[in-house]
């Protein structure tokens, strides 16, 4: 399908595709097996300029938006979404700075992120604050020119690998949801350490771990936006970033479809390639329908976001749910079409099926997305 990409967007897609096929694909199985963070690959990506694809030119980026970000995430995910999310995790950590950072903060952090010299992360989730992200227990107490942070974040993408962390903490418990704030915390700040690295089902190349704050003193300049705006920062960040998860899902679905098609064309049973069986053809057709529909939706939402569209929350959630459910279904069917071979680690669909699951869980589970969509629907007035 023609999505009318500009020549610049086509170039971005082309470079990301080459990166994925030539550099990521040969390493994927080993990165998954060893659960190894793809640092070297991110360095290779940095030299293509794509690390700064969503960062304005004045801060050293390419000046694209979430659409271009999604193109890159999709292409890498088509081969290995664990590697893609190691890149996208930096995006999640950087979007709050892009949206709410002041000039000094932007100048300080964005150029290094754009150049791929710094990796980012986003620390919201805690042991008792998962879907209920307002139930934050981490605190940040003002002390002169500093905030003193105490608490523990869990399941943070790029934990320990990242240089710059956007961290959510309670600054005034009495104010409830309006007493939560966001901070930029640099790796190496005294009192800031890392918990254990998780052993995961999928996206195993991506590192997931804990952030531990023990009287960690963060300078006042590192407060993002204003005190009490934390959950607004979080909400607006997710509005922007969720299409990125959806793009990851589209990439997984497309990658699984690519593999299943190739296999079905060559695997001969009952004297003919299995692609000649109508039952298999219909599965492939359904996979193509879901993948393309998901892509169309993700691209539309990403463009809406980049054009400054208001009220993108619902659309972002719709895209995330639809695409992630598609990725789970398509990757499961890809394994089915490939039979026993699909179940073996010799073929990438086994990994893709494990990888797909996370897209239905993080940045808000699909149940939470449906809550968001429903609550927006409830707010809408009768059309006629």
């Amino acid at each position: 399908m023609n999505y009318f990409l500009t020549p610049e967007q086509e170039l971005i897609q082309q470079i990301a595709r080459r990166f994925a096929r030539e550099r990521v694909a040969p390493l994927s199985a080993a990165l998954d097996e060893k659960s190894e963070f793809p640092r070297r690959l991110l360095e290779v990506l940095a030299k293509t300029d794509l690390c700064g694809v969503y960062i304005p030119e004045e801060y050293g980026g390419l000046g694209g938006g979430m659409f271009e970000f999604c193109l890159v995430v999709e292409e890498i995910s088509r081969v290995d979404s664990g590697v893609a999310i190691s890149f996208a995790g930096t995006g999640l950590g950087t979007i709050p700075i892009l949206l709410y950072g002041n000039e000094e903060q932007k100048k300080k952090y964005l150029p290094d992120v754009a150049a791929g010299k710094k990796i980012g992360a986003f620390g919201l989730t805690e042991a008792n604050a998962g879907s209920d992200s307002f139930a934050q227990e981490t605190t940040a107490v003002k002390d002169g020119d500093y905030y003193v942070i105490n608490g523990t974040k869990q399941w943070i993408t790029n934990a320990g690998e990242a240089d710059v962390y956007t961290v959510v903490a309670v600054t005034n418990r009495a104010k409830g949801a309006r007493g939560i704030s966001t901070f930029i915390v640099e790796k190496g700040t005294p009192g800031f350490s890392f918990g254990k690295k998780e052993n995961k089902m999928g996206i195993r190349a991506s590192t997931t771990g804990g952030l531990v704050f023990n009287n960690c003193r963060v300078p006042r300049e590192n407060l993002l936006a204003k005190e009490g705006m934390g959950m607004i920062v979080v909400g607006r960040t997710f509005d922007q970033s969720r299409p990125g998860v959806a793009a990851q899902a589209v990439g997984i679905a497309q990658g699984a479809l690519d593999q299943a098609l190739k296999f079905a064309r060559h695997r001969v049973q009952f004297g003919q390639p299995v692609i000649r069986m109508q039952a298999v053809q219909h599965m492939l057709a359904d996979m193509a329908i879901q993948t393309e529909a998901a892509r169309a939706l993700v691209y539309s939402v990403a463009r809406d976001i980049d054009s400054g569209g208001k009220g993108v929350a619902k659309a972002a959630s719709i895209a995330k749910v639809f695409a992630s459910d598609a990725a789970m279904k398509v990757s499961t069917d890809a394994v089915q079409i490939m039979g026993g071979a699909g179940y073996m680690k010799d073929y990438p669909v086994e990994r893709m099926m494990r990888d797909a699951k996370i897209t239905q869980i993080y940045e808000g589970t699909n149940q939470i997305q449906r809550n968001i969509i429903a609550s927006e629907l409830i707010k809408e007035r009768d059309e006629w």
């Binding site: 610049e8 170039l11 470079i15 080459r18 030539e22 290779v44 293509t48 300029d49 794509l50 390419l62």
Partner: protein, 267 residues
């Protein structure tokens, strides 16, 4: 540091088929690529520029379609590309090729010249060392690591069959490089945009002060008299089993070939 990297456009031999009648490569319809080792030469040039400043110029001699290889070099981020293209260069063997390249490199100016260890089609590995001879600078071949660079010298590792050899040469010098040297980068976004519009400097024989006797067909003493697939003369044989069994099998084989004589007891 001013660096010149020499690249050759070659057919992608992983896609190439051999004409069994003539024993030559069937080049039609085969995609052209930059000789893989030359990508390592470009990468090292870019890495050295990142460390020491200066510029990287990429040069290639060949027909007009070599422009696409040079545009690819631009997309990797080199500063400038030069195409040597002239009917007078046609029919060059390695001697004429290196003479022509050397004249152009002299014109560009250089502290370091980087070549691939060999071209995957011609395979002679002669052009690099010959360029150095024409320019009267030292050459170091099969380089797998650049260890030290100072104003006046360069220290490198050579990849040899039995190990590595560390050598130092005065600058300017010429290196031919192997793939172990580095991992070539992918095209960059910004450089790719530039590569679309940047003019490719093209030089012919006229401006290069070349003796017509040294270039093209005239400057090429090599004659191809016949090309053929060598007969399979000898074949290896693997012996299996315990050391004793292998020794017995070897002695039996040597005896039956009448290379050794006598019975087992006597020996």
């Amino acid at each position: 540091m001013n660096i010149v990297a020499c690249i050759k456009q070659v057919p992608d031999t992983s896609e190439v088929k051999i004409d069994r009648e003539t024993n030559t490569l069937i080049r039609e319809g085969v995609p052209s690529i930059i000789n893989p080792f030359d990508l390592n030469a470009i990468e090292e040039g870019l890495l050295l520029k990142e460390r020491f400043g200066g510029s990287v110029t990429v040069i290639s001699m060949g027909p007009p379609q070599v422009e696409s290889a040079l545009r690819e070099a631009l997309s990797l981020g080199v500063d400038r590309v030069v195409l040597l293209c002239d009917r007078a260069f046609a029919g060059s063997d390695t001697l004429a090729t290196s003479c022509t390249l050397a004249a152009a490199i002299r014109e560009i100016g250089f502290d370091l010249i980087l070549c691939g260890k060999q071209a995957i089609d011609g395979d002679t590995a002669q052009v690099g060392p010959e360029i150095a001879e024409w320019l009267d600078v030292p050459h170091l071949t099969y380089i797998s690591a650049v260890e030290e660079v100072s104003d006046r010298s360069i220290t490198v590792s050579r990849l040899l069959e039995g190990g590595y050899e560390r050598v130092r040469a005065s600058l300017p010098a010429l290196l031919t490089v192997v793939k172990e040297l580095n991992e070539p980068r992918l095209p960059g976004y910004r450089a790719s945009l530039r590569a679309k519009t940047e003019p490719v400097t093209t030089w012919g024989a006229a401006g290069l002060n070349l003796d017509p006797a040294n270039i093209g067909m005239k400057g090429s003493p090599t004659k191809v008299t016949r090309s053929f697939v060598p007969e399979l003369g000898r074949q290896g044989q693997f012996l299996a089993g315990s050391p004793e069994e292998q020794a017995a099998a070897l002695i039996a084989a040597l005896r039956s070939a009448r290379i050794v004589h006598g019975s087992a007891k006597e020996s």
